[in-house]
């Protein structure tokens, strides 16, 4: 299925608003975490089925933990497969990080060491997951507040993983900005070194600067101008892909959210108009 345009995160707080938007004023698709909807019944199952009738859907998972040292949770993969058989999901993305360690879920995204053995380990896991699910995995460049025992640069780490596994890249432009700020490197130089031909999906989000040298990737604030500018610079270098406005917390009124959506759409249409888009 082809997926195009600019979407927004489907959050329970704005469910009614998203259903009530006029057809010509809607986001082009919605995204949610499958963990928040799989094996959930009752009222929210009704809502999920209504979402599936109303919008194309992408999913952005939280607990695959592709970077964990332990075994892949095949029971979880079975749940995902079942979910994907019930709900038409165009794209399944996840994070290039880990959220489970020492047999415990942490419910947050931890930084993988940028090391060769990590690359080899993760590539094996990606291939396993892609074969098991029968679909390409699309992995996001995550924000991180400290690197751990790095022996290569982050973009080299990403390049090696993408090239060896043939997974897709979810390019989160806000994360590029956040990491460049937090780790004092040039954001555009970072992007130039990424495998841009592997980009299948993009995210844009807001963040919160908490002190003079640290930004936290909160997804709870409007996107700042500098991140819009970076996005405007990145977009023409990438094939047309779906773009998501990722707002998870502190949700504004729907009109304000759709205004931000409109700004992203204007940028993508400026650079990608008349081009077909495939997820």
């Amino acid at each position: 299925m082809e997926l195009s345009g600019v979407g927004v995160g489907f959050r329970k707080e704005i469910a009614d608003d998203l259903f009530e938007l006029p057809k010509d004023g809607r986001p082009d698709f919605v995204e949610f975490a499958p963990e928040n909807w799989m094996e959930i019944g009752g009222h929210w199952r009704d809502i999920l089925e209504k979402v599936a009738e109303t919008y194309p859907i992408t999913t952005h998972g939280l607990s695959l933990s592709i970077g964990s040292p332990g075994e892949i949770d095949t029971a979880f993969l079975d749940q995902l497969k079942q979910f994907f058989s019930e709900i038409p999901v165009v794209l399944y993305s996840e994070h290039l990080s880990y959220s489970k360690c020492n047999n415990a879920h942490l419910f947050d995204l931890m930084p993988i060491p940028f090391r060769k053995e990590a690359v080899d380990h993760i590539v094996d896991r990606i291939n396993f997951v892609q074969d098991y699910l029968g679909r390409q995995l699309v992995l996001e460049n995550v924000s991180y507040y400290t690197s751990v025992a790095p022996e290569m640069k982050e973009f080299d780490f990403i390049n090696q993983i993408i090239s060896k596994s043939e997974c897709g890249l979810l390019l989160d432009v806000n994360n590029v900005y956040v990491n460049a700020f937090n780790h004092n490197y040039d954001a555009k130089e970072f992007v130039r070194n990424l495998p841009l031909d592997a980009v299948k999906y993009m995210h844009m989000a807001g963040h919160h600067q908490i002190n003079e040298d640290t930004i936290i990737d909160t997804h709870g604030m409007p996107i700042i101008d500098q991140v819009f500018d970076l996005f405007d610079w990145v977009v023409p270098q990438v094939q047309p892909v779906p773009v998501l406005l990722e707002r998870d917390f502190n949700l504004p009124p729907i009109e304000e959210l759709m205004e931000e959506h409109g700004k992203l759409k204007a940028i993508t249409e400026k650079h990608w108009k008349h081009e077909s888009v495939k997820a």
């Binding site: 009752g42 979880f76 047999n103 419910f107 060491p113 507040y145 025992a149």
Partner: protein
């Protein structure tokens, strides 16, 4: 400290994880949180975060593991709250029923004879507690230890979770209906009249209002269609 990591940045990860756990547990256990002190709540949730190997990957189901953790008596001071084990079980029960995965409900009719098989709501749990944690929450601290029964169910009509207080006899009736392969009014009356050594027609007069209530409350959703 992991090698090469920035010490000044590590607290951000701790804070982010703690905030996530905090929000999930505060949403799920507001009554327990209100019954213990702020310091005790902080200690309990911090201990859970630090010591319990969480297996659940869905945040809506994480509270089940916290309930199990509390029921393992991880801190001595919980003994001062003897109702705590029952309370966390009850607070989780509401979430468990609300989010329970949809099941296939057999085709059924709205009326049936005495021998027709009841179709029982699949989203039900019968609980026996030592303390009345489903009512009179203000005075829970003074409640007497005893046998308290409650039926939790998620209605098919509006997906809302309801609780029905039961006495020992009505709890036994509910348990029979839940466990019997083909429960009907006649099989219920037969079993209980034998057990209680009472006349079936007399028992029917006593039980009928309760069965009617179970239909209104959607515990009995109908009668099996032929």
């Amino acid at each position: 400290m992991p090698p090469g990591a920035r010490e000044d940045r590590m607290p951000h990860y701790f804070r982010l994880i703690t905030n996530i756990f905090g929000e999930i547990l505060e949403d799920a256990f507001p009554v327990l949180q209100s019954k213990i002190t702020e310091d005790q709540w902080s200690e309990l949730t911090a201990k859970f975060q630090a010591e319990y190997p969480i297996q659940e990957h869905q945040s809506v189901r994480l509270p089940r593991e916290f309930a199990e953790f509390v029921q393992s008596s991880p801190v001595e001071w919980l003994k001062a709250y003897p109702f705590a084990h029952d309370l966390v079980d009850f607070e989780w029960l509401e979430m468990d029923l609300y989010f329970q995965k949809n099941e296939t409900v057999p085709e059924h009719t709205k009326n049936g004879s005495a021998t027709a098989t009841f179709v029982i709501n699949p989203y039900v749990q019968l609980k026996q507690y030592n303390y009345p944690v489903f009512e009179n929450l203000e005075n829970l601290q003074d409640a007497e230890k005893g046998q308290y029964f409650v039926l939790g169910l998620r209605r098919l009509s509006d997906h809302k979770v309801h609780f029905i207080k039961l006495n020992p006899l009505s709890a036994a009736v509910v348990e029979f209906l839940m466990q019997e392969s083909f429960p009907s009014q006649s099989s219920l009356l037969k079993a209980f009249s034998e057990q209680l050594q009472v006349d079936p027609s007399e028992l029917e007069k006593q039980i009928q209002p309760f069965l009617d209530q179970l239909v209104r409350d959607e515990f009995i959703v109908g009668w099996l269609a032929n």
